[in-house]
Subunit: 143 residues, 2 copies
DNA sequence: ACCGATTTACTTGACATCATGAAATATTCA
DNA sequence: TGAATATTTCATGATGTCAAGTAAATCGGT
């Protein structure tokens, strides 16, 4: 059993903590290079794929819709995002990335070598093993 | 090579993103059960191991010392932490967990089964492989 | 060994962002 | 018509930065 006092489990837990910390450092650093906060970068990344209603953004971010209003306000003030009416439902406002927003999102993705660079040290076989172990750890099955 | 368009690498990157999200959910949920924020829980965890000067807390949190003042203020107001003078340097204030703070920190650790429970699905050998792959990914060598 | 200048540790204040919750408005749906 | 939904606004609190201020330690020149 994996108990709390199991040394091996504790080592893995600590490593995962390090991964989480490293992930955020890289993410925030990349965002800051474009004068964006982590939350703004995350929303811009979502919207660069497809326009989304405010409410769905809140669901993705697991936060209150009233919070999304402010984040979109700030992105809109910088010309990275725009609000559009939803033709199908006049209550809904769709947030959509502008051309400049998509450009910034692409640069952000390119700068985010958190996983790309350290993973380069692993062989294909090793990456496959890592992928499968992470999947099982997360309780996902092979798609 | 691990390029950005490498499917396997992208899968691993996405899984790591999921791990990060899951980690935060669990952490914040466990903290909220004790009416603590994530930042407060993190600092309390640090101080439950050893008292630390304010400045070192800021280094661990990678934030400004002025920010730590407020976090310790709130923990101190709840009796979980206390400030002590450092006998060796009167400029320094040591933040130390109180008995109640240590108790809360222990309960927090026990509630944090993020890694314990999902890792239970892996065998010892698999956990060892996972540990070694994560270490190499993070650029650490065996201690 | 002394003393002034610099550095270090912490706090305070002003401000921006992120987060929640309650109330207001507009629109849709039963 | 009345209930439910989508968004915004407002009040509030936690977190974060930066600049300025206070207290204490350290350094360098005499």
């Amino acid at each position: 059993m994996a108990t709390r006092t199991d040394t091996l489990t504790l080592e893995v837990v600590e490593l995962i903590g390090t991964v989480v910390a490293r992930y955020h450092e890289e993410y925030d650093r990349a965002a800051a290079e474009h004068s964006l906060t982590g939350a703004q970068a995350r929303v811009l990344g979502l919207l660069s794929l497809e326009p989304l209603p405010m409410r769905k953004i809140a669901v993705r971010l697991k936060c209150e819709p009233s919070n999304v209003t402010g984040i979109i306000d700030r992105l809109e003030a910088r010309g990275l995002v725009e609000r559009r009416p939803d033709p199908a439902d006049r209550r809904v406002k769709l947030a959509a990335a502008t051309d400049q927003g998509r450009r910034t999102a692409r640069e952000l993705r390119d700068a985010l070598d958190f996983a790309r660079e350290p993973l380069a040290g692993l062989s294909d076989d090793e990456r496959t093993v890592l992928r499968d172990l992470l999947r099982r750890m997360l309780g996902e099955e092979a798609p």
